[in-house]
Each structure stands twice: as C-alpha cells, then as structure tokens.
C-alpha cells in the first residue's frame, strides 16, 4: 500500500492528524520524523501517549526515515508520515528517491518572518523556495487541514 499521507504539521501528533485524517484513512501507523523528539526518551513517551490504541507509532530520525521509507511504502497498513516543517519534508522527499509524490501542508503556524497564506499556513521565503522546488520536481503539494476541507494547490499559495 502506498503511504496514505505525508503531512507537514508543526503540532506533530494531534487531533487533526489522529482523528481528522487517521479516521477516514483508517491509519494504522503514524511515523513521526523528528530528530529532536526521536533523540529524547521523555519526548518520545509523551508523543507515544498521544496515539490511541489501534494505531502504532514510530518516532524516528530523518536518517532512519530515509532508510525505512521503502518499508513503509510497502506496508499493508495505511501509514501517515509527519514532519514539523517543510525543510525536513523537503529533505525527506529528496532522500527517498521518488517514494513521496504527494505532500500535505496541514499546519505551519505564525512565527516571526512568516507570511500568512492560509489561516493555517504561514511561510518564510525559504519555505516558498522549497515549495517551488517540490513543485518543479513533480511533487503534488496541497494545503488541506482536514479531509473535509477543500485542498488548496501550492500554486495558489505562492500566487
């Protein structure tokens, strides 16, 4: 089974991911790709607690994610892959040799240097450059916080 969802969301594992997307996709595995969380046992425990019974969770470094992405793409279970930011997701797309063909922007919230593109998407100029590069590489990027929302193509975000 192909990876069900590759999502950029700075809240990581939270309600919209577990319930909003996890339910309709019948997700059985959530992979959180985050060097900081994966390297800290206490943080790993907290994020693991946030995943309900019936869904497995793996919290891995970027390096491990690059190695194991082929395994997840063949997994019989619907898999959700999460990163906190576009920088990490862009590296993951490049490092996994075409296994990730679609990217969902689910939550990139306000911070200094970011400009609002949608209520839940604020981008830096570096993010804009990353999105253009992903688009040029043929990756389908859309912003969509929930399955019931209308997906917004990246071309509309970038104007």
């Amino acid at each position: 089974m192909a990876i069900a969802l590759c999502r950029v969301d700075d809240r990581l594992i939270h309600g919209q991911v577990v319930i909003g997307w996890g339910g309709p996709l019948r997700a059985k595995l959530i992979v959180l790709v985050d060097d900081a969380v994966s390297g800290n046992d206490w943080e790993r425990d907290i994020y693991s607690l946030a995943v309900p019974k019936g869904i497995d969770v793996e919290i891995v470094s970027e390096a491990e994610a690059e190695q194991r992405c082929p395994e997840w793409s063949r997994d019989a279970r619907p898999v959700i892959i999460l990163t906190a930011d576009l920088e990490t997701m862009t590296r993951l797309v490049r490092g996994t040799g075409g296994l990730i063909t679609r990217v969902n922007l689910g939550g990139i919230h306000h911070a200094p240097g970011r400009t609002e593109r949608l209520r839940y998407v604020y981008l830096t100029q570096d993010d804009v450059d990353r999105l253009r590069a992903l688009e040029a590489a043929g990756v389908a990027v859309t912003a969509q916080d929930l399955p019931t929302s209308t997906p917004v193509p990246v071309s509309e975000l970038l104007g």
Binding site: D10, R11, L12, I13, H14, G15, V18, I19, W42, E43, I46, Y47, L49, A50, V51, P52, G107, H109, H110, A111, R119
Partner: protein, 124 residues
Amino acid sequence: MTQELHGVIVAHAGLAEALVHAVEEISGVRGALTAVTNTGCDRTRLEERVLEAIDDRPGVVFVDLRSGSCFVAAMRLRAGVPDVRVVSGVNLAMLLDFVFHRDETPAEAATRAGEVGVQAIAGG
C-alpha cells in the same frame, strides 16, 4: 492554610471557555478555572498560553483529548512545574467536583478528577 488549587482547561476551539462558563453557571464558583484554546497555535505558542494560565500556581491542567496537542503541551510543561498534574478527557462532572475540592494536593485532585469523571459516564 495552603494555597487553593487552580484549574486550567486546555481544549480545542471554544470548548474550554464553554466549560468554564458552564461550571460557573452551575456552581457559582468563579475564578477557579482558566480557559485556554489551542486555536491558531503551534506547539511553542500553546505551551506559552498554558504556562501563562498556570501562573506559578499549584493546580490541575485538564485537557480534552489525550490524542491531541493540548495533552502534549500540558505533559511537556509538567516536568517544569512540579505542583501541577494533568488529567485528560475533561468533563463537566469532574470540573464541578474540582472547584469544591481545591484544598487537596495536585496529585490527590488529579486522581479524584479522574475517578469522578469516569463515574459520571453512564448509558442505557
């Protein structure tokens, strides 16, 4: 006399504010609970909101979903604020009980809230 416990409700959209309003309407106890919404927050901003609501007071942080950003934010903060405990699955019954039992320790109050909250669930 030790300081009375304070309750912080951290929840999605307008739920926390609605729960505070409902508790005040039913109990008449005001000022015992503070509402925090996660709307528009990344992790950092939500933790700032929760920390501001705790305001160095001993108490209990009530969160709506265990599978959510509110729970993660509360649990991450707990390590730095020893006089605070976290309870997920907040409901009106546990809050109504909490506001009348704020002379307990945070650990006792959290245990009690969990028990009262579960006892309030019934069906037919």
